[in-house]
Symmetry: C2
Subunit: 435 residues, 2 copies
């Protein structure tokens, strides 16, 4: 059974703490195995990747067959049923439109001292996307990762997806084509991460690696961090739904279950101002669980990590939400905008009674790769700037250096950095107007 | 002696690879010690922090004396000599002006389907800045870390600086006052990082921790990552200077030494199109080393990691620079703008013959916390967005959901996520115009 908490009662703060600090992930220690694989791929390149693929994926590859030919990708795309292709295209178009507005602007100005100052954003030159194989091979995730990279201007977007026993989900290829991936390799696991980070004879290295994966992939990403950039390592999914009694309990129950069905470690929390409504939602959850295909997973998640929290008034939800800092926050209330304005910490906010979180997973437009495990306090969902980097520009004329140089010399002096001061002072000791 | 490389010669590519992959850092393995300290501070709070401070810093504290009183900070500020205070104020003003332009804009629009879409940036609620004690206590670094946080709108900026034997650099306090730090504690090491990440009875926890530190501090930051956000872990400093023969070799030599004097692990590289000029710069380096206070450190850095690279023409420098992806790039050439435009990977670019890198360390305006160890390929210097996070907003009316909902249901179906589809479908099965 999910936890039931009443905000007025004794011990509420402690119970809430326990709920949000609830360590739901089981961390397998795969670091040593992964370190060996990375070292091997770094040293032997293609040969090592091919050996691990044979061992783990039961798939025989050669350097020539690692990459999926354009014709195969085209065929997967063409064989996708029309209605589904249209759904993918609609999603892609909406994601592209939303992310297009995220492209950051630089600036370039000369200030009163005559100093030229600039800030310039450029795309990373090459990015790699890891896509899990098997049941977690979600075409929607391909779109959510590829499109921000292409909007950023990444010229070379490499995708790696394992094909255990040679089997690939054709929808993943179709989504890759819709999104605009440039190279796709049928390799997975730590060996794929290593291939993208260090490069092999066949696969040129990338600068940044993103995308979800199992414990081996997550450990590999952590270990190659520094050699390449990585995105955040996603934890189990979470939703916090704030709903008053004017909602249909069946709708809210479905929303809670849409996270619970992802993983037994997912967490779904309802905050409401009505104990009766909380009870009705709990009953509706039980009702839905009778028919859902993934009921077993959802039930375990709901029983182990779910919570129904009753507050005196919806206003009282605000500090609780900021403490939870949920990945997904649904505001099924009469004035969701006013409530949203008061929230600081949330990965994504879904406004009003007709915006189930799931619509945002697919076709809303915003990214569905979002900060988990309370990290919405300090981090953001995946976006265009994750595939860009900023360079600052500074330019002095002799006069500008004469204006600001003495302060630099003074500060270098108190910091004891003689060559710093010297490099500025030498240039100030020339007749003005030179240079 | 620094390496001398000629771009035309056999083995150049391999020698360049060796140079840029040169592992300059010695990594002390302090993870176990740090993990124990973190666990202890998390469990025992103030008591643990006070014990470690007594042991490592030879300083007796109580919960009441951990925090530095406002009067002491004011006194440090007032006792700073006027010329130095003016230099700090000038630097702060210029850093504030430059970073003020970095505040990202959100957006909020309703598209043709009637879907409300938004992106909202908010400051993290509380940030912590670690400031090293002793010789590396640089007031300029305090400004470079505090000001972007305050420009972002961080309401509570906590600073921790160790005071070994009770000794503190008053300039660090003066800089903290100029920059606008809100709380300052005289604690350091892994115990300070733990106090900021987990909180103690006296120190409320923060959401993000930034700032440089020794191996213990770096390991502590890595280990608390997830509980809080962290900035990147900085490696040894680097400079790449591109200079033609029309420069004064003494100026360029001083620029190379301004990085070399930071640390024996720093790296300074010159790329020039003149072998004669390279030789002259090498001689000028030796000349400066006769007089510099930190000559011993600078000499070791220059001999072990320095390089003079001669190319046929400055154009040939472009691909080399992008491979090196330097933290600092100085373009001492006739048309630095044209050259800068062609460079993708650099943390900061210094334009022209009158812009020594050191002016940017103090008073230029851009941040001096920059990506090292080739990470400029995928990451940026410290900025305002490092203290902010983005929340996406999505809102559907019944009509908007009717327009885009079917595609979401279709995609949920092929991904096998029944509750996802259900949560959307339930809301589409209502008479239009409701809600």
């Amino acid at each position: 059974m999910p936890v039931e908490l009443f905000a007025g009662q004794a011990g509420f703060a402690e119970a809430l703490d326990a709920l949000i600090n609830d360590k739901r992930e089981t961390s397998e220690d795969v670091n040593t195995i992964v370190a060996d694989i990375l070292r091997d791929v770094r040293a032997r390149g293609d040969d090592a990747v091919i050996e691990y693929t044979c061992r783990f994926d039961k798939l025989d590859l050669t350097p020539q067959t690692m990459r999926i030919p354009a014709a195969d990708i085209q065929a997967a795309y063409e064989q996708t049923e029309t209605e589904l292709l249209e759904a993918l295209e609609l999603a892609a178009e909406r994601i592209r439109e939303y992310h297009g507005r995220q492209v950051p602007e630089g600036y370039d100005y000369t200030d009163d001292a005559g100093v030229r100052l600039g800030s310039r954003w450029r795309a990373v030159q090459a990015a790699g996307l890891y896509v899990p194989g098997g049941t977690a091979a979600y075409p929607s995730s391909v779109l959510m990762n590829v499109i921000p990279a292409k909007v950023a201007g990444v010229e070379r977007l490499v995708m790696c997806v394992p094909a255990p026993n040679g089997v690939l989900n054709p929808l993943v290829l179709a989504a890759a084509k819709v999104g605009g991936a440039d190279e796709i390799y049928r390799i997975g696991g730590a060996q794929a991460v290593a291939a993208m980070a260090y490069g092999t004879q066949t696969i040129a290295p990338v600068d940044k690696i993103v995308g979800p994966g199992n414990a081996f992939v997550a450990a590999a990403k952590r270990q190659v961090f520094g050699t390449v950039g990585i995105d955040s390592i996603a934890g189990p999914s979470e939703i916090l739904v704030v709903a008053d009694a004017d909602n249909d309990p069946a709708w809210i129950a479905a929303d809670l279950l849409s996270q619970a069905e992802h993983d037994t470690a997912s967490q779904s929390i309802l905050i409401t101002d009505s104990a009766d409504f909380a009870r009705a939602v709990g009953e509706a959850v039980e009702g839905h669980l009778q028919t859902l295909a993934r009921a077993e997973i959802a039930r375990q998640s709901w029983n182990d990590h779910g919570a129904l929290i009753v507050v005196d008034s919806i206003d009282d939800a605000v500090p609780l939400i900021d403490r939870v800092a949920p990945e997904h926050l649904e505001l099924a209330v009469a004035d969701p905008d006013a409530l949203a304005e008061r929230i600081t910490n949330a990965g994504a906010i879904f406004l009003g009674r007709y915006t189930p979180e799931a619509v945002g997973d697919y076709v809303g437009g915003p990214n569905h790769v979002l900060p988990t495990a309370r990290s919405a306090r300090f981090s953001s969902g995946l976006g265009v700037i994750d595939f860009m980097k900023r360079t600052s520009l500074l330019g002095c004329t002799p006069d500008a250096l004469a204006a600001i140089g003495p302060a630099a010399v003074k500060l270098a002096e108190v910091e004891g950095l003689g060559a710093h001061g010297l490099s500025v002072a030498l240039r100030m000791n020339v007749p003005r107007g030179q240079g």
